[in-house]
Symmetry: C2
Subunit: 420 residues, 2 copies
DNA sequence: GAAGGGGTCACCCCCGAC
DNA sequence: GTCGGGGGTGACCCCTTC
């Protein structure tokens, strides 16, 4: 209902040559939805503004990637399974967008590289980006048809097997360090430990700009918003597929069966809330269930919380949704109606609504068939039980590592790059 | 309720020396539940009777194994996960039984071997039996404390990885055949094909008796009933864990949510039935749902069938259960009550039961809250959709291969055996 | 074919009862 | 601890639909 509705994007991968003005303002030539581009973190925004003031080159993201995407193992890459779209891609065909970046305040040729960074640091992620069937750095040469904007279409995210990651890190570090600068066994241990701190279900795109001839970085990198692995119960899209009832009594305690997409019983809650006329949240409570009421990750049996006014004289429309405490994400809400108890209603209403015949359909008064209630449900979720990833000891979020230079080789419009 | 209730077994692994009479009757010295022992197939029984008539030795199964057991991969065998029990093991502790076999009409020493056979042929199964941490043939030397009965306790079933099976078969066949009797490539192909026809989720125990000195078979083998892998959706125990309602209207169409153990949406049905006073089935119908109403193998939303008498004047107790068409197995039934429509009841009853107040608990008349009903459900399960294993082209069920002789080596009471 | 999904195999753990 | 289970996960393999 809410989060999937966007303006039908005007930015697409077919870049408009008319918008190719070398401007200092980040607010030019884009659709209304991008007047305030969402940046990966505060420091980038500052950097941009500094760059604008000082007339220095900078990168800015014009189209963010979608926030949910299925990471694929290399063995799954025989066929094709769709590419990473832009956040504003329309569901309908023919208006797809792709992650897009613009190099501002710059003249002449430049090379834009797209790679994967970790979600909570600027370090490289062990997963790999892929472009169609090619297995090399994802780069694009600018200007492209006169534009300094480039859309990366056809991207996929290759899920590196967990067991391969320590070795991968070891290779990387042992190459970077001189032969005598490290102790092999110790470095291997460090890589094992670092592996534990890498979240394999969240990545960010990292864009870097390089001088075409030297490979030297032109400006600081920019990072996209996080992209969550759609296949993992820790990061997937929460969804209530179906429920057996969408109404209950104001004193709560009604049993509801919901069928949901994969959840983790240690890290899931059900939030009821009410919005007033202007959309502000005026009440909130939780559905009650035990971990054992979560059935194999795909169904939850819970009891409704009491409404804030158990003697309400009128029916009240509220919402309920899934909530994942570890990252605060929630599902699309479902409507739920607290049906005012017939004895609390105004006399006029009571006459009209009560005593409707058993088994008739379509009446506005529902009856409550789940009585007597199952008692003693309690929401026992505790911080300890939720298995939240401990915050790893890593560079803070706003630390930007120096962009390494690239070794370049031209290959048509594509540039083959290697780490120096 | 029904299938798990048995006499509390008197046969246990502690064999009673008193029952060690060399008798010709298979009906002696066992508990009432074994007066008619269940034999794996008809031909065995004939063989037994022939053997009895002719005074020849024969094997008979005294305690069958349980029919559901979790097969474990070798990598899961670090800890301990419980052993294969006898079918009549009591749920309460201290009265466990184990698969038990008796060698009849025989004097002197004999060696009883237990191994795994396929469910639909007498051929050896690629899975392995294990006994505690030992990895060798499971054998026992008879007589044991004067008895010709032997219980195999501490058995586990090791799940051979599917990808390893062609190689395993190839090794076996290429050893059995002479060097020039086979074409390597062709044999490998045959092994690939044979692998497809082996059901890795069903095994049977095969018991063979051997002369201690020569290893020659003493009598034909006997086979236990099938043992199904508890972890596979194709063979596991069907179970309705929870349902949101256990009653409905006689004309049916009420929506029921059930939470179930892992099922295959292409191979599952819901059967309603009614028993008369003497336990005969007098009515049967199906719950209606689409494959898409099966939620990730763990929940089903269905609508109830109409009762045979939609105008019943009294409430009717019936049952519903899960049914797996491929093998005809079903879950424990749950009770379901068709509540007579209030207008069809006898006048006296109507007075007492109708118009009870909304929201009160404990009354015998339930109300129906799921109206209006979801329409247009239809049970569309067809034979074609059920993905039933095709019957492989293999020896018929009653074919018994000649028992191969064993190469023997004594090691205390245990005998180390090798295939000749 | 493309673009999405769902299910499975093999493995890795977890827990509660002793 | 260990026993006797049980649930979840990573990697992979398929299947629907267009």
């Amino acid at each position: 209902m809410s989060s999937s509705e966007h303006d039908n994007m005007s930015e697409s991968s077919n870049l408009d040559p008319a918008s190719n003005e070398s401007t200092f303002s980040p607010y030019s030539g884009t659709s209304p939805s991008q007047i305030v581009p969402e940046l990966a973190n505060g420091i980038i925004e500052l950097t941009c503004e500094d760059a604008i003031r000082e007339n220095k080159p900078y990168l800015r993201i014009i189209e963010e990637p979608v926030d949910y995407f299925r990471f694929r193992y290399r063995s799954e890459m025989l066929g094709t399974h769709g590419c990473l779209l832009g956040r504003n891609s329309a569901q309908v065909k023919k208006s797809k967008s792709h992650p897009t970046v613009e190099l501002c305040n710059y003249n002449g040729s430049a090379l834009i590289r797209c790679s994967l960074a970790r979600h909570n640091s600027s370090l490289e992620h062990p997963h790999k980006l892929t472009e169609e069937d090619q297995d090399r750095d994802i780069t694009s040469l600018l200007p492209l048809r006169g534009s300094y904007k480039v859309a990366f279409s056809g991207l996929g995210i290759i899920h590196t097997a967990k067991k391969d990651i320590p070795t991968l890190l070891y290779k990387r570090y042992s190459q970077e360090l001189k032969q005598n600068e490290f102790n092999e066994r110790k470095l291997r241990m460090q890589c094992e430990n670092e592996t534990k701190n890498i979240n394999l279900n969240i990545v960010r795109l990292m864009f870097t700009a390089h001088d075409v001839t030297t490979g030297a970085p032109i400006c600081p990198p920019v990072f996209s918003q996080s992209i969550n692995n759609l296949k993992s119960a820790a990061t997937n899209d929460l969804k209530i597929c179906r429920a057996n009832r969408y109404y209950g009594r104001p004193n709560g305690g009604d049993t509801v069966y919901i069928l949901v997409e994969k959840v983790n019983k240690k890290n899931i809650a059900i939030r009821f809330y009410e919005l007033d006329e202007i959309g502000d949240k005026v009440w909130e409570d939780r559905g009650h269930f035990l971990q054992s009421d979560v059935h194999h990750q795909y169904a939850i049996v819970f009891t409704t919380p009491p409404y804030r006014d158990t003697k309400t004289k009128t029916d009240v429309k509220v919402f309920f949704e899934l909530l994942r405490p570890s990252d605060g994400r929630c599902s699309e809400p479902k409507e739920f109606t607290y049906i005012a108890d017939v004895y609390n209603r105004d006399v006029k209403k009571r006459k009209a609504e009560s005593y409707s015949s058993l088994g008739s359909s379509g009446g506005s008064v529902k009856s409550f068939s789940d009585l007597p209630l199952t008692l003693d449900f309690a929401n026992t979720l505790t911080k300890k039980e939720m298995d939240i990833d401990p915050m790893p000891i890593l560079p803070p979020n706003n630390y930007i590592p120096p962009t390494p230079p690239l070794k370049l080789r031209l290959d048509g419009r594509r540039v083959v790059t290697e780490r120096v």
